[in-house]
Amino acid sequence: MARLTIEKVLLSYEVPLVVLAKKTNGDFYLGINYEDGEVAYKFYFSKIKSEHLKLLYAEKIDVHYVITKLHKGKYELAELWGREGSEFNTKSSAELPENSLPEAGMFIPGHAPESLSSDYKVVNIDGQWEISDLRKFADLVQDCYSFGFALLGAAGGAATKKINSLFHKHPWRGGFSSVNFFKELYNNIPTEDRAGIRKIEYASPGEIEFYMNGDVADSIRELVNGINEDKSPAREAYKKAYGRLQNLGWLSKSDTDITLSVQDIFELTTLLEESCKAFGLEDHTDHILSLASNDPLSAVKIVLAYFRRLQGLADYVATGKAQNIFHDS
């Protein structure tokens, strides 16, 4: 038995259909109205973790998944009207009542936190796309978006701290798998600010419509277009910086592996400033340096890593498979 209070109604039509209830210890329960009772409505409740509640609100998981795959322990049953603020006692049950599961695909709209800075941005697509293109293009967009989001400092306080600490933790050595770094970087972007796909139309030309931070998308568009310009200063700066680190044998080294002299630090700082200027990131040089714990070697590597991903997107634009990248819808 448990004592629960209805926190809010998540979905209703004539009657509350899905509710969120809370126990006095702070645990959340998802409640499903499955039929009429003698007086009120019969509900069953399944405990739900806060992290899963966020996924439910973001429509990343459906109610069926919460009730079946994420459920642990017993279900709680009660008869109630489902009004917000009402308190009630439940009866525990190991089994769900018969025919009481929601159908698959029951996503609850209307509860995702809204981003104040996201816009609809469109990429036109053309030519022949293979499945691998979708994966590769999506990975590049996500990586560039994560990086751009961090570099522009677009997140709020807590998220920014987490994102910054990731850069500090990363050793920035060559050959190190960056997959987890980018994955973690993306996961630390607040859910409402993550880049989402709103529409895909495959035609000639077709389009992919994204919902994403407008400033980050605009920044990526400008950088990508800059890379594809004739005699692009960004490409030249990348070659110069990469070549210099290669010649010094520092691509696979971090600042803990080598002792940088005052002259080295000066040269690396100059290289960083030149690269940032060429990439159109001159306003973010100090921020990038702080992300790298004021180590100019790591800072240059951060900028180079960002460039490589932007180059990947730029190649899609250069071949014509992606056009007019991240324009307003």
Binding site: L11, Y13, L17, I32, N99, P102, M106, F107, I108, G110
Partner: protein, 134 residues
């Protein structure tokens, strides 16, 4: 616009102090009503009280409102709930939000209660029916 709630100015008789005076107007221009076929009739806009007069309701005023949702996504979610799945709703009909059609109260992010004025024929203002499972 009629604001008197004496139970005579609305499509269905309403109890005292109904509709409520403190209402939240929807921000959506179109709202949706669930229906079972693409042939909509006036009965599809009956309130719960009209349809099931002998049932007990926690709030008589709400029971006499026409329930609407704010999007087709909300319609699709609602019909997948175990309670609603048994009712076999398969379509939704759009209702344009217009303050001159009655009193509207958005009580949840995706749900609106509508008390139509007696001068309004819901069937005549409803739009083209959409299939939900297609």
């Amino acid at each position: 616009m009629m604001t008197d709630t004496n139970g005579l100015d609305f499509l269905e008789p309403l109890p005292e102090s109904c509709p409520p005076t403190a209402v939240v107007a929807p921000t959506e221009s179109t709202l949706w009503r669930l229906v079972k076929t693409n042939a909509v009739t006036a009965r599809d806009f009956d309130s719960q009280r009209e349809r099931l007069p002998n049932r007990e309701y926690p709030d008589e005023c709400m029971a006499r409102s026409v329930s609407l949702v704010t999007s087709l996504a909300a319609c699709r979610a609602a019909i997948k709930s175990p309670r609603m799945a048994r009712m076999k709703f398969s379509h939704a009909v759009p209702v344009p939000y217009d303050p001159s059609y009655g009193v509207w109260h958005k009580d949840q992010p995706t749900h609106v209660n509508w008390w139509p004025y007696i001068s309004v024929d819901p069937l005549s203002i409803a739009g083209v029916v959409e299939q939900l499972n297609g």
